[in-house]
Amino acid sequence: MSTQASMNAVVNDAASREYLVFSLGDEEYAVDILKVQEIRGYENVTRIANVPDFIKGVTNLRGVIVPIIDLRLKFHLDKVEYDGQTVVIVVNVDDRIVGIVVDGVSDVMSLAPDQIKPAPEFGVTLSSDYLSGIGSLEDRMLVLVDIEKLLTHEEMQLVERTAESA
């Protein structure tokens, strides 16, 4: 019986992926944990002028200049506060290091393919382009964000080519 269970676990592990779950307001989101480099507090961000408001500025990450994006502003959440609980998830996408500001990080979850539902075709502020799906976990719903697509998307104005086309 126990061998059966552990075997199941192995099978599960092979197919399922781990996600870092974070909260924006009351909503729960998740990103592929392999994209996450580290989690740190929100501090010492230098403002950059003439950029969209969700780009908070740049910060010094052990000698590397890293842009910081506030997803709460990007997703038009009502309450945006910066306090001791505010967390920056440092992700590594497309050979770039970017920090994203969220309200909190809760846990790391393993989701099997059958727990991931396709993302619904709607959303004005959050285009389904950036979503890799919806994770359903008992009574919780996790919005799975394709962080790579989101950050390299033109709207984010993070990557140079967007500046040229604009």
């Binding site: 010492n44 230098t46 403002r47 950059i48 002028a49 003439n50 950029v51 500025g57 740049v58 910060t59 010094n60 052990r62 000698g63 590397v64 200049i65 890293v66 842009p67 770039r96 290091i97 970017v98 104005q157 993070l158 990557v159 140079e160 967007t162 500046a163």
Partner: protein
């Protein structure tokens, strides 16, 4: 480990060897060549050949081989150098470079070019050396020759071969499975070792009898560059000529139909092949041993640039931490914390020294750039029918590697310009009372924290009238009253060329503006001094390095920014009397007799809580890309050296900002881009006008 891991090392090395070769060839006194230099050139070719052979770059290897042969004859004094021979050598060197690049890019070199250059080299060998070798060959052919019936290879023969190195012996060389082309090459090759007594056979098996003083090993080593060791066997043939039959074969010279070699019993072949195969690795080992011994003599190590950059980055971090500690320690009481304060001072000094030494790793001598010009000048001068002497000064002046690589193109352009437009033909020069030989000087020197590079020619100088006329015809705003300096600046305008004829050298007018832009992109500037009839001097001023910037830190509404110090002219507190407004919003500041536009930093960069009252704030007079303006800031903080951090690594280019840096407290400060800030402010003002106009329209509609 895969052999391809060593490819890069070979490419680097070969590149350096080729550069050496070119330099030596150019320095060579054609009439009285220095034997040591000839030896050095030969060694360079030989080393490249060796490497190419090891890595299987056949074309490269064969080309170098041909070159090496000629060089060998040259150094032994058998081939008398002439200018055109040196030219051919240089051409070959270029070809080798192309081939090297082809291999580096993982493709095969241009076969046609290879064919051509090998024909040229072979022809040269024939023309220059043909008589020397042919005569004994003919004489030898008259004697009766030994046949191909030979004793099998044995220990005894091998020993004999080595012992009798210096006496002429007869060697029987058997080639198996060698095609005609290679065979001809090999035979040519063998001629250099001695006298070919006879040759016969076909592609499957070909035999050459050679009288030579060289050892078997040497001959084999050379031939193995063209064919596999298995295809070759050499044995000493001590038996003097006895049997007939081969005589006719020898008499028919180069392409005999009959092959007496077939008489050799087949079973000998495998044995010979193995013997050779065994000998080959031993030789290879000896060779590599020799090579590493040579490597030990050199005092340099090869390090990838990113490793160096990583060290530089880490040292930058160390400096930041150090200044952070220093700030903390400065608050401490020096009496009770004496040792700590002393320690901090020591740390500061050591950290600075460390930074300096690390930065110097990236520094390269200007010789790296200058050394490519003798060739260019020589070729171009010949093409243009001009007599030019190139003088280089300050070769050892050091500059950051990234800058040194980027200065090559602009400098090449300036040199071409000088040769094409600046320096006159010998006749013209004589007519105007100058020496027929034009002088082109390249010089480099340190000046403060900058490097000053000058391209000086003693040619005709810039033609003021011509430039003005051309500027008018291309619609630039000019007047006859302009100062010379302003006129010279015109040639940096895009699309500007006063050359009457567009040559393939220069004159298309795409040049000088690109030169200027490139130099500005490196944080430097370029200026021109010219006197009609006496020559032109182009002066390039560059910062020593891009990694560290002398900055002036300023504050604006609680935020800290850095201004590059070289852009700052002066700073002053504006007086109400000196402020003038223009067209409503725009404001000008009168500084001495100049009216400068005022650009408020808080406006351009949307800084909140900044001092908006002009007379309370400070203006910094800055200059960038030829524009001068007064930048309005809250306060000056001080002057400091900062490590420049790229914003584009993880983010993107930000308007008005050139880069970022990390301050002593660990926070990020942005470095302002003076010229771009001006453009940004212009754009924002326009936007503001636009919205204003729209608002007015809406009001009037209502």
């Amino acid at each position: 480990m895969d052999i391809s891991d060593f490819y890069d090392t070979f490419f680097e090395e070969a590149e350096e060897l080729l550069a050496d070769m070119e330099r030596l060839l150019l320095d060579l006194d054609v009439d009285d060549p220095d034997v040591e230099e000839l030896n050095a050139i030969f060694r360079a070719a030989h080393s490249i050949k060796g490497g190419a052979g090891t890595f299987g770059f056949t074309v490269l290897q064969e080309t170098t081989h041909l070159l090496e042969n000629l060089l060998d004859h040259t150094r032994r004094g058998e081939l008398t150098l002439r200018r055109d021979i040196v030219d051919t050598f240089l051409e070959t060197k270029d070809m080798l470079h192309d081939q090297l690049n082809a291999y580096r890019n993982g493709s095969e070199p241009d076969a046609e070019a290879f064919e051509r250059i090998s024909r040229v080299l072979q022809q040269m060998a024939l023309d220059e050396l043909g008589q020397g070798d042919a005569a004994p060959a003919v004489a030898a052919a008259a004697e009766p020759k030994p046949s191909a019936e030979l004793p099998a290879v044995s220990e005894h023969d091998q020993e004999g071969g080595d012992a009798g190195k210096n006496s002429t012996r007869r060697l029987a060389i058997t080639l198996t499975g060698v095609n005609d082309k290679d065979r001809d090459l090999l035979v040519d090759e063998l001629e250099h070792f001695g006298t070919i007594v006879s040759q016969s056979g076909d592609a499957a098996r070909y035999q050459v009898l050679l009288d030579s003083t060289e050892s078997q090993g040497d001959i084999e080593a050379v031939l193995c560059f063209i064919i596999e060791p298995e295809q070759l066997s050499i044995h000493a043939d001590e038996v003097p000529a006895a049997e007939g039959g081969a005589g006719e074969a020898a008499a028919t010279e180069s392409k005999p139909v009959e092959a007496p070699a077939r008489e050799i019993p087949e079973e000998q072949k495998p044995g010979q092949a193995t013997a050779k195969a065994e000998a080959a690795p031993a030789r290879a080992a000896a060779k590599s041993g020799g090579k590493s011994a040579k490597g030990g003599e050199s005092n340099t190590i090869r390090v990838p640039v990113d490793k160096v950059d990583q060290i530089i980055n880490l040292v930058g971090e160390l400096i930041i931490t150090q200044s952070m500690l220093e700030q903390t320690a400065s608050d401490l009481d020096i009496v009770s914390h004496g040792p700590l304060v002393n320690g901090m001072n020591l740390l500061q000094r050591n950290a600075r020294d460390l930074q300096e030494s690390v930065m110097s790793i990236r520094m390269m001598p200007m010789d790296y750039v200058f050394s490519r010009f003798p060739r260019l000048v020589r070729d171009l001068a010949a093409k243009l029918g001009k007599d030019v002497e190139l003088i280089t000064e300050g070769k050892s002046t050091e500059l950051d590697k990234s800058l040194i690589e980027r200065i090559i193109d602009p400098l090449t352009h300036l040199v071409r310009n000088s040769l094409d437009h600046g320096l006159e033909s010998p006749e013209k020069r004589e007519a105007s009372g100058k020496s027929p030989t034009g002088h082109l000087t390249l010089s480099a020197q340190h000046q403060g924290g900058n490097i000053l590079i000058e391209v000086i020619d003693d040619g005709a100088g810039l033609n003021r009238e011509k430039i003005l006329a051309k500027a008018r015809s291309s619609g630039l705003a000019v007047t006859d009253a302009m100062s010379d300096d302003d006129v010279w600046q015109l040639i940096f305008a895009p699309g500007f060329s006063t050359a009457e004829q567009v040559s393939d050298v220069s004159g298309r007018g795409v040049g000088m503006d690109v030169v200027k832009r490139n130099i500005q992109a490196m944080g430097g500037h370029v200026e021109i001094l010219s006197k009609t009839g006496q020559g032109t001097t182009t002066r390039i001023v560059l910062p020593l390095t891009l990694a560290i910037l002398d900055g002036m830190s300023i504050r604006c509404g609680g935020e800290t920014f850095l201004l590059p110090l070289n852009a700052v002219l002066e700073s002053l507190q504006p007086q109400p009397d000196d402020i003038y407004s223009m067209a409503g919003d725009d404001q000008l500041l009168k500084v001495r007799d100049e009216y400068l536009p005022i650009i408020a930093l808080h406006h351009a960069l949307d800084v909140a809580n900044a001092k908006t009252e002009l007379t309370e704030a400070i203006t910094v007079i800055v200059q960038g890309e030829g524009r001068r303006y007064a930048l309005l800031v809250d306060d000056l903080v001080g002057q400091q050296q900062v490590v420049v951090k790229n914003l584009e690594t993880n983010y993107r280019k930000v308007p008005g900002i050139s880069a970022a840096t990390i301050l002593g407290d660990g926070s990020v400060a942005l470095i302002l881009d003076i010229a771009d800030l001006h453009r940004l402010d212009r754009r924002k003002s326009q936007q503001r006008h636009e919205t204003k106009r729209q608002n007015l329209q809406e009001v009037s509609l209502v």
